[in-house]
């Protein structure tokens, strides 16, 4: 069964045909969601993305592949997860470990421009620490534009924002990230 056939059957009232879409695309959705939300929230947010897809299936016009449409819903479900967490003040603002602070300060002071930071653990910790200090909108735009290297146009289409809004917010978020890191380097 193709995606379109499954969609047509679901819209005709055969809800069980949604299982095909679920099986075919859950890996992609899990990957998108897994990169964006804490591990204990992945199942809930991925479920939310599929439920949105089911409810909005009649609005899928088939102009782009189904997986693109579903991916956008998954990104938006993650965005909403962070908005809800932010509203409830649930985002933990854990401090940066001493190891990560020293590593960053040491790396910043290194002369050799070619020296690659290879401490993946510290790089990852810094990333999560910095993202936790951004607003949900900044987090979403930074993830799309800088971490997933999407164009401004693609990010705007995904988030449903104007391109100008994406440019302004991503620029502001980048400046904020730089400032956060500078503070760590200056006061390790």
């Amino acid at each position: 069964m193709t995606d379109q056939e499954a969609i047509d059957r679901v819209l005709a009232g055969e809800t069980d045909a949604f299982q095909h879409l679920l099986e075919a695309h859950q890996g992609r959705v899990a990957r998108i969601v897994g990169r964006r939300v804490p591990p204990d929230a992945v199942e809930e947010v991925a479920q939310d993305a599929f439920v949105r897809a089911f409810q909005g299936l009649a609005g899928f016009r088939g102009e782009a592949p189904f997986e693109h449409w579903l991916s956008r819903l998954a990104v938006l479900a993650c965005h909403d997860y962070w908005r809800a967490s932010h509203r409830r003040h649930e985002i933990p603002e854990s401090g940066l470990s001493e190891a990560a602070q020293h590593w960053l300060a040491g790396w910043a002071a290194q002369e050799a421009a070619t020296a690659e930071p290879t401490r993946a653990l510290e790089v990852r910790e810094l990333l999560h620490w910095a993202l936790a200090r951004l607003t949900p909108a900044e987090r979403s735009v930074v993830t799309l534009v800088y971490l997933e290297e999407m164009s401004v146009k693609e990010a705007a289409a995904t988030l449903g924002w104007s391109q100008v809004n994406v440019k302004v917010r991503s620029h502001r978020a980048r400046k904020k990230l730089k400032k956060l890191l500078d503070e760590v380097v200056d006061h390790p």
Binding site: G27, A30, G34, R35, V42, A108, R124, L127, T143, K178
Partner: protein, 109 residues
């Protein structure tokens, strides 16, 4: 000493690599059953409304606006139908002062 621009760019590239390398474990079968149980209790929403749907929109404001526009149209039709337009002779107006026509022509260029 702040982080140099070049090092910040390299760090964001490393973050991107790190982010893209993350892989999520497969979702359990119970998760799939949970989604299906949820969607069985729902019905797909109707398609997005067309541009004329405001005529039948349930929000009262649109009904009021629609009613007001009907009344306004009725008044306009009455005014046009009952006016003595022939005696005004708009052709004579235009010949007497063609500047309006010239402005219109320039504006349409």
């Amino acid at each position: 000493m702040p982080l140099s621009g070049e090092k910040f760019r390299r760090l964001t590239r490393l973050w991107a690599r790190e982010h893209q390398a993350q892989d999520a474990p497969p979702l359990p079968a119970a998760w799939e059953r949970g989604v299906m149980a949820r969607v069985r209790g729902l019905a797909p929403s109707p398609p997005e409304p067309g541009w004329l749907s405001f005529l039948t929109a349930p929000r009262p404001v649109w009904r009021v606006a629609w009613g007001a526009s009907l009344v306004a149209t009725g008044l306009l039709v009455y005014a046009v139908a009952s006016g003595d337009w022939a005696s005004l002779d708009p052709g004579r107006w235009l010949l007497a002062d063609p500047s309006g026509l010239v402005t219109l022509a320039l504006a349409s260029l």
